[in-house]
Symmetry: C2
Subunit: 374 residues, 2 copies
DNA sequence: CTGAAAGCGCTTACAG
DNA sequence: CTGAAAGCGCTTACAG
């Protein structure tokens, strides 16, 4: 084995940058090419004001020697960091939802040659932030263009970043503001309310008249989904039932509890919107155990469109959330912030959609009055 | 709303670093404190050779002004990057498995005050790597301490990094070497073979005598799992059946196909080890559709311990893979590489374990001969 | 214990 | 089109 892994380290003609000599700085290249460091720099940066002959000579040396410019020197002299920080707050893991946001960020940054620093941070809504408690990248200046705040956040940390003069953009859907309104500046959101309304329209369109929302209204984001759902149904003169579960160990368990409540207290319901996909998974499980068929006996809809649910049986109809787009939008917004100085106009809300799969169908007892009233 | 978000930006006594004056460099601090920049630097770096009085004066200025040192200047002069790069190769997303590895990396790096740059990269096993095709952070020098290679990788890229003189450590389990042996240097692996053997011992211990492995042996990592499984069973004089499916759209579908084959060709089997958890999910689904009960009719075991499967019904018994530990080990190994110059000794294999849940039980027809022979 | 000075490796006016 | 020189903001021998 050693053989193979060594053998291939031989000089392969310079094509892959095996060092012919030690040319580590622009001065080394300059000396070898018989030009000044300034000229090497110009070639490196693609300035047109360089004679082709000179340029070729320098380029050849660079390629042969495998020279790569020192990024810290570049950043220091250019005055900008060339990096942004994706900060996942108050989460134990990169779950599939935030993973997609991260991918959106990374994809955009790759195109604009910016590095993405990944960091995590846990804090409470009333914490202060002594210097040694915050992520390393925040403790120094010019380490990052700014912060992309994902995960769950509270106003205290946003204020802290403001006081630091550190630009940031946050994922707004999971910001906990208490009784305060969501700020619209530096905030990237998708329209949770209209996602709920879309779900309402979808289920009502299938002919459902007796609908229920199942979720934890203690969380503002779920409350917004419910409000949208209710508003959407109001247009069809329908008032949804509500199963508000707040004390579950996790959202899957919450779903199971919600389904138990559903069977007990809402036995005439023909369709349910769960607060999110994971909750819907829990409900599906509990319904199965109870011998209730989805969608034959009841239609079940999720919210988020996490990848895992397409493999459920039945596959889950859900509200699509533009996760990659959220990431991309957060990144572009941060760079726009730099250009335009301080806070620009509010970022437009991103629009959700419906992913139709197998967990929703027309209700068993089709109610003609829907169309008479509609 | 605007009110709230502005109001809190007022000076809160300097505690949160609201700038009293513009003190942006060590020279500014030095002038204000009546000392030299060198002394400010000493305070910043915690040197003991500074008079308490001087130190306090400087510290006070730093705190009041919210001064943070320029990280690029520090890195340039110190000569090390203060960052490492987590490179996810040939993957469309951060799935839960790699997400846990990333968390292991980030957790460790946070403790040692290193930033983690997250990047993705797609390439083929025969690609060359012209400068503009590789991730930005690789194109410059001193941008990173080295590369942590996760995802699926091929030797050509490792050789390329070697030729660049860029230190790296790779996640070995998903390295595709063709017919070549896995290198042990710079390689962090968990012991896939022994995970398979553990699964074998577990199932045999439950009394199973007719067992099957379901997976894609075209992938070396699944082949290693199978080999371990077979070796483990050999100790009980059992030869497992094999369902080798190679043409599935994804591992879930692969599982469904495998289950169909199982029912058709291995109807006497009492236990199955799936190549991974996702495959087991597919099998579980297909078995359910066929009216086969798990574990009553057949025991089913996964491999990986991804978080999603604990909510399955029945919850899935699986092979635990130390994902966070893999991440942590990759990071420590990279820093060790820097200390000890070039390649140190091989990294020890990380050990898998068994997570016992509900999908495995004793076989319906308990075969006494197991104990007679064992 | 502290300061003056050099230096990290680039880029960019400023001249020519 | 090209070079000499200054400067980005730190840290670190070297003196004292």
């Amino acid at each position: 084995m050693g053989a193979f892994w060594s053998v291939r380290r031989r000089n392969d003609g310079g094509r892959q940058g095996v060092a012919r000599r030690e040319l580590k700085t622009v001065y080394d290249i300059a000396r070898a090419a018989g030009v000044s460091a300034a000229t090497v720099s110009r070639v490196l940066n693609g300035y047109v004001s360089v004679t082709p002959a000179t340029r070729d000579r320098v380029l050849k040396l660079i390629e042969e020697s495998g020279f790569r410019p020192n990024s810290n020197a570049r950043r220091l002299v250019r005055g900008y960091p060339g990096q942004i920080c994706f900060l996942l707050a108050n989460r134990a893991m990169v779950h599939s939802f935030h993973s997609r946001i991260l991918m959106g960020v990374e994809n955009y940054c790759r195109q604009v040659a910016q590095d993405v620093v990944f960091a995590t941070f846990r804090y409470g809504p009333d914490d202060r932030f002594p210097n040694d408690s915050v992520p390393h990248i925040i403790r120094e200046r010019s380490g990052t263009e700014g912060i992309l705040l994902a995960g769950t956040n509270y106003p205290n940390f946003l204020h802290f970043l403001t006081s630091l003069g550190l630009p940031y953009v946050f994922y707004g859907n999971n910001l906990v503001t208490g009784s305060l309104e969501l700020p619209t500046e530096r905030c990237v959101c998708f329209d949770e309310h209209s996602g709920g309304a879309l779900a309402a329209a979808w289920l009502a369109g299938l002919g459902h008249r007796r609908l229920v929302f199942a979720g934890d209204l203690g969380k503002p984001w779920y409350e917004r989904r419910f409000n949208g759902f209710r508003a959407g149904l109001a247009e069809c003169a329908i008032v949804p039932g509500l199963i508000d579960v707040r004390d579950a160990a996790d959202t899957f368990q919450l779903g199971r509890q919600a389904a138990a409540t559903l069977l007990r207290d809402h036995s005439t319901a023909t369709a349910v919107l769960a607060q999110d996909d994971q909750t819907a998974c829990g409900m599906l499980e509990e319904l199965r155990l109870a011998g209730v068929q989805v969608p034959a006996d009841i239609s079940l809809m999720g919210y988020d469109d996490i990848g895992e649910i397409q493999y459920l049986h039945p596959s889950l109809t859900t509200v699509r959330v533009p996760k990659e787009e959220i990431g991309r939008s957060m990144a572009t917004e941060l760079f726009r912030l730099r250009e335009s100085g301080s806070s620009s106009q509010p970022v437009p809300l991103l629009a959700p959609g419906i992913i139709a799969r197998d967990s929703c169908s027309r209700p068993k007892v089709f109610d003609e009055t829907v169309f008479k009233n509609g």
